[in-house]
């Protein structure tokens, strides 16, 4: 494959949710919240999934990666780039992995022995940022097959928020919108141009202090503090023009997109975003707003939603997918790709 005719494509993807499902009413009933807030009505989140006792970000990531590798029908040895996009990197004892890269540990477990491995950190936009890097590596011939993977064990921030008096710590309320999950993608080479395209990536850094995740100072585990309304407004105020610029730059037609996925901060927020998108570009063919029972699984959200769409038999070979990603910071980036051949036959 000559350099000019070398491009990248999505070979496979997978999402994984741990078995344990927790109803929102069990921890965020109106009686638990300031001013008897109706959390379910406000967010549309009915439930989320949580890890089992022995699971952490790593175990989740491995589950998704194995599924993606199997679907790609690849030998692990043929993967020469592994990027981890997990923000949490949290084990079952709530310790945070720091070094070397989490990707190195994931590759070792999967017996991917000769791959370059590193981590990308860009909040919930880490996954699409990683996909951009992997696509470039494959297109330039520096990599053949890339595994981009993330496991997010973030529900300990729910426990942290529950320990707080939410009247006094209203910025902890957004912590109740998360769930655990994992996602993995395999990218590989193709001679066909345009099977993966990216928008201009934006960081609106004037909003970089609206959502902060870090270790809790006086208790085991992480915490997150979010000015949720300001963050949502930061996205919604820019979404229409962002989408219009993205569609133009990517050279795609809005009405030809088969499947659209947004980063699901909450199902209600996605609806608001969809209205803006519709006003700016026209009707959305198929918006997959299916996070009511998974919640926001950070960097893994799109992969989890793709898996749900696959389970529902909505996805077919070569159809087009448009995914919009947001991350605190505030990152905004979109990816457009063709679904892999044979996706409808995957188990």
């Amino acid at each position: 494959m000559s350099k000019d005719s070398r491009h990248a494509q999505m070979v496979s993807f997978a999402g994984y949710l741990p078995e344990k499902k927790v109803d929102t009413t069990s921890f965020a009933a109106p009686s638990d919240l300031p001013r008897s807030l109706d959390f379910i009505r406000l967010t549309g989140i009915l439930a989320h999934h949580e890890v089992s006792e022995q699971q952490g970000s790593f175990e989740l990531a491995i589950e998704a990666a194995k599924k993606a590798i199997s679907r790609a029908q690849l030998e692990p040895a043929s993967i020469d780039l592994v990027i981890n996009a997990s923000v949490s990197k949290m084990n079952h004892e709530l310790s945070q992995h720091l070094s070397p890269s989490y990707a190195s540990l994931i590759a070792d477990k999967l017996e991917i022995n000769n791959a370059q491995c590193f981590d990308v950190s860009n909040a919930c936009a880490s996954m699409v940022t990683s996909l951009m890097i992997a696509e470039s590596r494959i297109r330039s011939g520096q990599a053949e097959y890339a595994l981009i993977v993330s496991g997010e064990h973030i529900t300990p921030i729910i426990d942290e928020a529950k320990r707080r008096n939410l009247y006094l710590h209203p910025r902890a309320i957004a912590s109740l919108t998360v769930g655990d999950g994992a996602a993995a993608y395999i990218l590989g080479p193709t001679e066909q141009e345009g099977r993966i395209k990216f928008s201009e990536p934006f960081t609106l850094a004037q909003h970089n202090r609206l959502c902060i995740g870090q270790a809790c100072k006086n208790h085991r585990g992480p915490q997150m503090r979010t000015k949720a309304r300001d963050l949502q407004n930061g996205v919604l105020d820019n979404l229409g023009i962002f989408l219009q610029r993205s569609i133009k730059k990517m050279g795609i037609e809005w009405d030809k997109i088969d499947h659209t996925y947004s980063h699901p901060t909450t199902p209600k927020a996605v609806k608001k975003g969809a209205k803006i998108a519709t006003d700016a570009l026209g009707e959305i063919n198929f918006l997959h707003n299916d996070s009511a029972e998974t919640a926001n699984t950070a960097s893994t959200t799109h992969g989890v939603l793709l898996e749900i769409s696959h389970d529902n038999k909505y996805l077919n070979s070569d159809e087009t997918v448009f995914m919009v990603s947001f991350g605190s910071g505030l990152a905004m980036v979109a990816i457009h790709f063709n679904l892999p051949e044979g996706v409808e036959k995957w188990s």
Binding site: K89, E93, L94, S95, Q96, H97, L98, S99, P100, S101, A103, S104, D108, N113, C117, F118, D119, V120, S121, N122, A123, C124, A125, S126, M132, I133, S136, R137, S140, F198, E200, P201, F202, T203, L204, A205, Q206, N208, R209, C211, I212, G213, Q214, A215, K217, N218, H219, R220, G221, P222, D237, I241, R245, G327, S328, G329, L330, A331, M332, V333
Partner: protein, 237 residues
């Protein structure tokens, strides 16, 4: 791949990374004879962040601190994109590669490479010399040219890790290092430089930048992480 057009580095205290990075970035941008508005990408590489912060990316704070295109999106507004990468001490090379990967496709063709670590909490034992390094990277121009970055996993030991944890006895967050490879000391000869395996990313880059004065031809810069994995960047002068 890319060209390092200018660079600045300095030793910092326990948690001066943010302020130092901003200061050095302004100097490096001036030295490169570009304006801040020309920056289209900011990539930070490091391991330790204040309070073990996980989000947002440290690079977004640098981005905001420099006030680069911090406006709402319009049809003709310019863009800058920021994120972090990490792979132990090899982070500088990974960050350079990420810049080389993405910069050609961006509208603004200059990037900031930012390297460094903060002591996460005052309870963490910190026997490191912490350095902050900032470089302006372009696709061409006068500077040192990055030819390639190679990696070597052959000595990687998966058990040699660093982990942040909550110490129940003192009710505070610390980190612990597990395992230790055979210590590898600084090695410097004509066309090759490699630092100590216990150095942090910032010191690796700082010492490399001290080494390049008067260099001609090529220089290979090898970073061996304490996990045993290594990266080698080949530079042309």
């Amino acid at each position: 791949m890319v060209v390092m057009l200018s660079w600045e580095s300095t030793k910092i205290g326990y948690n001066n990374l943010f302020k130092s990075t901003l200061k050095l970035a302004k100097k490096a941008i001036k030295k490169a004879k570009i304006s801040q508005e020309d920056i289209g990408l900011i990539v930070h590489g490091g391991v330790f962040r204040e309070h073990f912060r996980t989000e947002p990316a440290f690079a977004t704070h640098i981005h905001g601190g420099l006030d680069i295109h911090c406006t709402n999106i319009s049809f003709d507004s310019q863009t800058c994109f920021s994120f972090d990468v990490t792979d132990g001490s090899c982070s500088p090379h990974v960050a350079l590669q990420a810049i080389a990967d993405l910069l050609p496709s961006l509208t603004n063709k200059f990037a900031l490479l930012c390297i460094g670590d903060d002591r996460p909490t005052k309870h963490c034992e910190w026997d490191y010399e912490s350095y902050c390094v900032v470089a302006v990277i372009g696709l061409s121009g006068d500077g040192i040219k990055l030819i390639s970055v190679d990696y070597d996993n052959s000595n990687f030991n998966v058990n040699f890790t660093t982990t942040g944890y909550f110490d129940d006895k003192i009710k505070a967050n610390k980190f612990e290092k597990v395992g230790n490879i055979e210590e590898r000391e600084k090695e410097s000869r004509n066309n090759y430089f490699s630092g100590d395996s216990e150095w942090l990313s910032g010191k690796h880059m700082h010492e490399f930048l001290q080494r390049i004065d008067g260099q001609n031809d090529t220089l290979e810069h090898c970073i061996v992480d304490r996990s045993g994995k290594s990266t080698t960047a080949k530079w042309e002068f």
